[in-house]
């Protein structure tokens, strides 16, 4: 079985400048392999090359070098598009069409019969929570509602692989929850979901694997659990009924002590010593345990660290590419 998505050394240069055009490298030798059934998070700060990658996969732009395949076929293969769905970043659709008409139009491009189109359109608009508004022209839609319509149009053909570019953008908390549920539902149906985001909480809640891009380059890729589990930074111990003088006497001293309320403290302990000793000491003085949690590197920390690494390596590589020109 071919991978759902295979990207090999994909590079994209844009020409910038009005008169004397200079190349600007938006994406630099990206290689990725995404297996069928994965929910893959494509993460990175703004301008990292996420949207460029998605556009290359949809062949909205052509690569400077490298290649990519979707479901074993080169990108740009029109027939493969019957099996994929795509939601662009901040999508825009025709103002003059109603949500129903837009979806019907797109469904026509897949060649579905009239009855089939009606069924699909009604089902999907229900699924994304567009009610009676479906008969309104899209010009009257809010950003979040257009986003929902965009998600619906990406799923019209029951795609095997779904590409979402910033699917949560423009959505309120309720909408975000819906989209999360939808992505998990797609995963349960065995579909592959490739989504880009700069919101790490989404990735944490949804992805089996992630890639982090920064400055057009792949900074890291891997299993989310692995990335996070490797770096346990310490322990967070919350206790109640603690006497302040006991805290001062604790050995080894906690890295940080935060008083939450009268007698209730949060202590941050380093990984050098097991937390049991501190816990026992406090318990002996009459305090009781509220919670004890390992402090992981969050994806946020990981992200910042990786981006910083890539950014620091960046000036050299730019020099190198200039020398190469």
């Amino acid at each position: 079985m071919p991978p759902a998505i295979r990207i090999e050394e994909l590079t994209k240069d844009y020409a910038i400048g009005f008169w004397r055009k200079r190349p600007y490298r938006a994406l630099d030798s990206l290689s990725l392999r995404i297996e069928p059934g994965e929910v893959f998070g494509f993460l990175g700060p703004n301008g990292a090359g996420k949207t460029t990658t998605l556009k290359l996969l949809m062949q909205l732009v052509f690569p400077t070098s490298g290649r990519a395949e979707i479901l074993g076929h080169p990108v740009g293969d029109v027939a493969t598009r019957r099996r994929i769905g795509y939601l662009a970043e901040n999508p825009y659709y025709y103002d003059y069409l109603t949500a129903e008409e837009l979806l019907d139009y797109f469904a026509k491009l897949f060649g579905y019969s009239s009855a089939d189109r009606q069924r699909r359109v009604a089902h999907l608009l229900d699924r994304v929570g567009i009610g009676a508004e479906r008969r309104l022209q899209l010009r009257k839609f809010s950003k979040g509602m257009v986003q929902r319509v965009g998600i619906a149009q990406a799923l019209l053909n029951d795609p095997e692989v779904v590409f979402f570019d910033e699917p949560m953008s423009g959505l309120d908390p309720l909408g975000r929850r819906d989209v999360r549920a939808l992505i998990l539902e797609l995963r349960d149906q065995g579909r592959t979901v490739f989504f880009s985001s700069h919101i790490l909480a989404d990735a944490q809640a949804l992805c089996s694997r992630v890639a982090v891009v920064a400055g057009g380059r792949l900074a890291a890729t891997g299993n989310l659990n692995e990335i996070l589990a490797f770096d346990v930074r310490g322990w967070e111990l919350v206790m109640t009924g603690v006497r302040p003088d006991v805290i001062d006497r604790l050995q080894p001293a906690p890295r940080r002590v935060t008083q939450i309320s009268e007698g209730r403290y949060s202590l941050e302990l380093s990984t050098d010593h097991p937390p049991e000793r501190t816990l026992a000491e406090l318990a002996a003085s009459g305090a009781s345990l509220v919670s004890l949690n390992p402090v992981h590197d969050t994806l946020e920390d990981y992200f910042i660290k990786r981006v910083a690494e890539v950014e620091s390596a960046r000036p050299r590589s730019l020099e190198a590419s200039r020398a190469g020109d």
Partner: protein, 268 residues
């Protein structure tokens, strides 16, 4: 074919919902209607004025529709990024171009038909109210079927201009495309002068260049048989067929080049 017709229908629907189009058609129809009153001011020339004005209004308003909607067809999709959603569907870029073009040709056909009906309605009323002896002084009958020849060639010319607008809009900004298309329209109508340029200038190279331009640029004056028709001169069927063939060939070449450019374009 299914894809192309789906896109064409959507273009037609877009134009029908566009207020600009309504205004243009309404205004043109009003102008044709008002030619009746204008005709009253000139003794004996009334039918000619109605025909002249009617045909000119059809050509000019058709030109506006061709340029403004023709350019918007593709450039609006690119500018507003609705093309991202469209091109992720199982359609090829040439299909997109052809569908858009077909849709606008359909829109133009409907517009030209509406204006044709308006012209004939005014002419029919005119013929009905004019005593028979006066009618004998007219160059051509009031409700003259020959007018259809002129209207048909106007339609072919408009589809050609639409192809020009579409061609420019595949690689240029809307403003520039409008300017280029309008420029080409004007040049196209004076193109015949370029053919005989060597009789006006001495420089051989200038004459050669003019001749080259004559062959590259569309000869739009060929489509203009308004004067002949209004004055009751015959327009042979052979001429009609040849001119239409020329238009179709020119359109085909433009669409092929537009498709080639569009198929290689990055949508940033």
């Amino acid at each position: 074919m299914r894809v192309i017709s789906a896109i064409a229908v959507s273009v037609f629907r877009e134009s029908v919902r566009d207020r600009v189009l309504y205004n243009l058609v309404l205004f043109a129809t009003l102008l044709i209607g008002s030619s009746f009153f204008l005709g009253q001011l000139t003794a004996g020339q009334d039918v000619k004025i109605i025909k002249d004005l009617g045909l000119a209004a059809t050509a000019i308003f058709g030109l506006f529709i061709s340029i403004f909607i023709g350019i918007g067809l593709v450039s609006k999709e690119v500018e507003r990024r609705s093309i991202y959603g469209l091109l992720s569907k199982p359609i090829s870029r040439p299909q997109l171009i052809l569908g858009k073009y077909a849709g606008l040709v359909l829109t133009l056909a409907v517009n030209v038909t509406v204006m044709t009906v308006a012209i004939y309605a005014v002419l029919a009323y005119m013929t009905w109210t004019t005593p028979a002896p006066i009618q004998t002084a007219w160059d051509a009958p009031g409700v003259d079927p020959a007018l259809l020849k002129a209207l048909f060639l106007i339609f072919v010319e408009l589809t050609l201009i639409t192809a020009v607008a579409l061609f420019f809009s595949t690689f240029s900004t809307p403003m520039l495309s409008a300017a280029f298309t309008f420029g080409l329209y004007v040049v196209g109508h004076f193109n015949a002068d370029l053919r005989n340029f060597q009789s006006v200038v001495e420089s051989k190279s200038a004459a050669t260049l003019a001749r080259l331009l004559y062959h590259v640029l569309p000869d739009l004056s060929a489509f203009d048989v308004k004067t002949a028709v209004v004055h009751g001169l015959s327009v042979p069927w052979g001429y009609l067929a040849l001119t239409t063939g020329y238009g179709i060939l020119y359109i085909a070449v433009l669409l092929v080049i537009a498709t080639l450019i569009f198929s290689r374009r990055d949508f940033k």
